[in-house]
């Protein structure tokens, strides 16, 4: 029997496991596995919940009102709803110290992508510069994952940046504001393409517009952030439910992975875990081990393994994340329009700005405002609250946000390391991020270029409302144990097998060699599937 232990049930862990099972392996998945509740009133739309729920205040704002966004709430335009807080609930022992980085981490069934916005973009060869693999290595796995999760989009002007080998499904119906922007783009296309070197098209998102297996097509309930009640929006827990039905799959939740035990030949023999219910420690033996705990957690497990094995705590350099800039805009022609109450909540359009080289492209997701917690937006208007509320009513259908994503490259001064704890305990992770020297200039140029495109679309950008999100906010963490063609310590080979521990594989973003300005999770899933299919 071929046995493998996988840490983590997030996007990376579940797609690796699916592939390993297909290749005949017996898979044991170790996870803390925090869980949420089933969606309430699944047939209701977002606005209907406010009138139909017995206690809408607790549902939308939380029993302790911790989803009320007050003026000091870090300047974000949205927060997480109470029913999704479990996703970010961190066990006490996994606290970390940070500098220049504000990470989100998850110990939930399905991981961080239980709250993702579904943006799923494939990579080109130029995006893989520095990787020992090419687009050809990933292509069948992009298609395999797309088939599994369902990716909607259209073949349009953006397609050359996101080769998709015809796996795209029909997208969800676009809202009136998004439709208007697309029409304006078609009229101004020549100028936008030539003068701004930009293109606009439909987003690629992991959401179904029609039924697929036991998932329903999107019903335009507008509840995406609160949890899709019909599973149209893909989350990894959907794949986990499928895995749980497989006879060669065992899901061990309530377990925190500590470190790997390494024998004298440099092979991992067991995963040391803490059972959070009993507080006791256990060993789980297997032939192979896969870390898919998310870049930060996998790095911590690897570093603790190294510390106990070699007596040192090295730095893992090369930590990356996409810098994001949030630019609100107002589309003048949409002012005073009636609100449609049934809508898909997340982004339906994307904008790509070409860079000097292909590697330097800028990717933006364009979200027209639909359902949200409006008080967070209203309070940011430069007006008294009553006036701002009325202003919001008039402008609501004309409001939108561009989420600008910049690429990142690995640097030694951005790293993770550990501060060892007491004997027998896991260490404290320490994360340091230092932006590139010319980052401020890159941000300035990106903002100017996006504003120019928006102007041609008939939109204005209200002064003073564009916000630079802190590093860590995009939650696209990568780069601490990179793939390398040359054998070297603290790196993995092209199949993501550790050069240091031969039966250890890393199946999450830790192995990325650079971070293009594209949401990475679809590539995480495709790469995890590739590892399962080719190295197992």
């Amino acid at each position: 029997m071929k046995t493998v232990v996988v840490v983590g049930s997030g996007a990376s862990g579940v797609h690796f496991s699916l592939a390993a099972l297909e290749k005949g392996w017996t898979v044991t998945m170790v996870d803390l596995g925090r869980r949420g509740h089933e969606p309430v009133l699944p047939d209701m739309g977002f606005e209907d919940l406010k009138t139909q729920l017995d206690d809408p205040v607790s549902y939308f704002l939380g029993r302790n009102f911790d989803s009320v966004l007050l003026p000091s709430s870090k300047g974000e335009y949205y927060g997480f709803p109470p029913n999704k807080k479990y996703v970010f609930d961190i066990p006490d022992r996994e606290q970390i110290e940070v500098s220049g980085f504000e990470p989100l981490r998850s110990y939930a069934e399905g991981g961080l992508a239980e709250t993702w916005t579904g943006g799923s973009y494939s990579l080109r060869d130029s995006d893989l510069t520095g990787f020992p693999i090419s687009r050809e290595d990933l292509a069948p796995h992009f298609a395999g994952v797309a088939n599994e999760i369902g990716i909607a989009g259209e073949y349009d002007d953006t397609s050359r940046f996101f080769p998709s080998d015809h796996y795209l499904r029909k997208p969800v119906e676009i809202d009136a504001h998004g439709n208007y922007l697309l029409k304006r783009y078609k009229k101004a296309r020549r100028r936008i393409n030539k003068l701004d070197r930009a293109v606009i098209g439909r987003s690629h998102t992991a959401v179904l517009s029609s039924d697929h297996e036991d998932r329903k097509g999107c019903t335009l309930s507008g509840r995406c952030l609160w949890g899709c009640p019909v599973k149209a929006l893909y989350t990894p827990s959907i794949t986990l439910s499928k895995l749980k039905k497989h006879e060669r799959f065992t899901y061990l939740d309530g377990m925190l992975a500590n470190w790997l035990e390494i024998d004298n030949d440099g092979k991992a023999v067991a995963l040391d875990v803490t059972n959070v219910v009993t507080g006791g420690k256990e060993r789980i033996e297997a032939q192979r081990f896969v870390l898919a705990g998310g870049t930060l957690s996998s790095s911590r497990i690897f570093l603790d393994t190294w510390r106990l094995w070699k007596g040192e705590s090295p730095r893992l350099g090369g930590l990356m994340d996409n810098r994001q800039i949030i630019m609100p805009f107002v589309t003048l022609a949409m002012l005073g329009k009636r609100c449609e109450t049934r809508n898909y909540q997340y982004h339906q359009l994307m904008m790509v700005l070409e860079g000097k080289s292909e590697e330097e492209m800028i990717h933006c997701q364009v979200t027209t405002l639909k359902s949200a917690q409006y008080h967070a937006i209203i309070q940011s208007a430069p007006m008294d609250l009553l006036g701002a509320m009325k202003l919001f009513r008039l402008t609501r259908t004309s409001l939108g946000l561009v989420n600008i994503n910049l690429h990142d490259t690995p640097r030694d001064d951005s790293y993770v390391t550990i501060k060892p704890g007491n004997s027998g305990e896991v260490s404290k992770l320490s994360v340091v991020y230092v932006p590139e020297e010319n980052e401020a200039e890159k941000i300035r140029i990106a903002k100017r270029r996006v504003k120019s495109v928006l102007r041609r679309l008939g939109c204005i950008v209200p002064p003073g409302m564009t916000r630079l999100r802190p590093m860590g906010a995009s939650v696209h963490y990568a780069g601490t144990l990179p793939m390398s063609a040359d054998r070297r310590p603290l790196a993995v080979d092209k199949e993501c097998r550790s050069y240091d521990i031969e039966n250890l594989f890393i199946a999450d973003g830790s192995t990325f060699c650079r971070l293009p300005a594209k949401n990475l999770t679809f590539t995480l899933m495709a790469n995890a599937r590739r590892i399962g299919m080719t190295a197992f």
Binding site: P56, L70, P71, L335, M383, D384, L386, L394
Partner: protein, 140 residues
């Protein structure tokens, strides 16, 4: 100073022109008492601003405009935002956030101009009445 229930009715009514249901009053009280989102008692400049606003009418509108510019993180604004969040998420207030019919571009521009004018007027009143007591030098 007025009690939390009266305060909720004042702020909720100011924003929605409606009386809050008992459920909303209860939630407003809970946010201050059990949940500890906001302090139940105000002190110093926060108390002065709240006192002025608690008279309702033009004084509340002026304090709202004044706080937006000079004290964006004041307790008054936090309380108003809480009332707004309660309005947004309950049947009594949620319809105040949607336009059910098209207003049209020009009517919207006229209304927007009126809102700006209204804001500047109340801000001026706020400055006249509140600036001597609460200004940039005041620490909340």
């Amino acid at each position: 100073m007025i009690g939390l229930g009266e305060e909720c009715a004042l702020f909720f009514g100011y924003l929605t022109k409606k009386e809050p249901a008992e459920y909303i009053l209860e939630a407003y009280r809970r946010a201050h008492r059990d949940a500890g989102l906001l302090p139940a008692e105000a002190s110093g400049p926060d108390a002065a601003l709240l006192n002025f606003a608690s008279h309702g009418g033009w004084r509340l509108a002026a304090a709202d405009a004044y706080a937006r510019i000079f004290f964006p993180a004041s307790l008054l604004r936090k309380k108003l935002i809480l009332a707004l969040a309660l309005a947004e998420n309950t049947p009594q207030g949620s319809d105040r956030f949607n336009l059910e019919t098209d207003k049209g571009f020009f009517r919207s521009i006229v209304e927007l101009s009126f809102l700006s004018f209204r804001f500047l007027t109340f801000l001026t009143i706020g400055v006249l009445f509140l600036y001597p007591r609460l200004n940039f030098r005041t620490r909340l």
